[in-house]
């Protein structure tokens, strides 16, 4: 199983994500620079990491979304390759149009950096199959622009189609309908603001994020 992580100037969770993929797939993760135009052959998983790509210039994720490699990521996603975008990665995926909506400045204006409770919105995705519907888990967030916005029709569609992967148990950033993570209509692209890669082993204090990677690897095996 082959996983790659995209590295933008300003990414800072790329290595954490790469370690999580390595731990669960058993193979070294390939790091791919944003200026590259092609991805390695035969990829199963692409990680779009957290951080502050391009210093959040213009809008969070806006510049990264237009970088050369993202065209290849969009192409791979359309062919069914699993894509996991975390934090800034979620912002990049909405800016590229791979996921609907946008992530705005937190309603409270504060940078929120702490463990938060999440409710699993659906266990019917390749990313969330190892959780129970409605299960409460704890995963850390660290963001300034995590306030999910989409128009009502889009929100209704996301909810109606079971595409809300995670919600905040207590809304930490003003997100519409408490949305913390969503999948695309094909179910192979997940974007989420919380950082599951920061809770995968006991040394992290909890392992609540590990099952995302286990579910993903299990589904692709």
């Amino acid at each position: 199983m082959k996983a790659a992580v995209i590295v933008f100037p300003g990414s800072n969770c790329d290595r954490d994500l790469a370690v999580a993929f390595r731990e669960l797939t058993g193979h070294e993760t390939t790091m791919v620079w944003h200026g590259d135009t092609t991805l390695p052959e035969g990829l199963d998983i692409i990680g779009v990491p957290g951080g502050f790509s391009y210093g959040d210039y213009l809008r969070s994720g806006a510049m990264a979304a237009r970088s050369p490699i993202m065209r290849a990521v969009a192409d791979a996603a359309s062919k069914g390759v699993a894509v996991l975008g975390v934090c800034n990665g979620f912002q990049v995926l909405t800016e590229t149009g791979l996921l609907p909506g946008a992530l705005m400045r937190n309603a409270g204006l504060n940078f929120v950096c702490r463990d938060v409770g999440l409710t699993v919105g659906t266990s019917q995705t390749m990313f969330t199959s190892r959780y129970e519907d409605g299960e409460e888990i704890v995963i850390p967030v660290a963001h300034h622009d995590g306030n999910y916005f989409a128009d009502d029709a889009t929100l209704d569609r996301l909810e109606g189609e079971g595409r809300v992967a995670f919600r905040y148990a207590g809304n930490v950033n003003g997100s519409a309908r408490g949305i913390a993570g969503i999948v695309n209509d094909a179910g192979n692209v997940l974007g989420m603001m919380p950082h599951p890669e920061r809770m995968i082993e006991s040394a992290h204090g909890r392992t609540d994020g590990r099952r995302i990677f286990e579910g993903l690897v299990g589904a692709l095996s």
Partner: protein, 76 residues
């Protein structure tokens, strides 16, 4: 050809930054401020004769996120 693109949040989209500025203005004693919305201005120096359609394309593809923002093009 100097061109300005004014990007503003769509009406109805919560603007916490605008709310904070509003609050600060009130705190400074400025009464009668009904609302504040914060946007951004992008100044472009374009080749003469650049088509408006091209500028609009720039706005839609990068300068504004039309999910949450409107844009206005002002040509000098």
């Amino acid at each position: 050809m100097k061109t300005r693109v004014v990007v503003t949040l769509k009406p109805g989209v919560l603007d916490p930054q605008g709310k904070a500025v509003h609050h600060a203005l009130t705190g400074l004693g400025f009464g009668g401020v009904n609302d504040v919305r914060v946007g951004k201005i992008v100044e472009l120096d374009l080749a003469d004769g650049t088509a408006t359609a091209d500028i609009e394309d720039m706005c839609r593809k990068l300068l504004a996120n039309t999910v949450i923002e409107n844009f206005r093009i002002e040509q000098a």
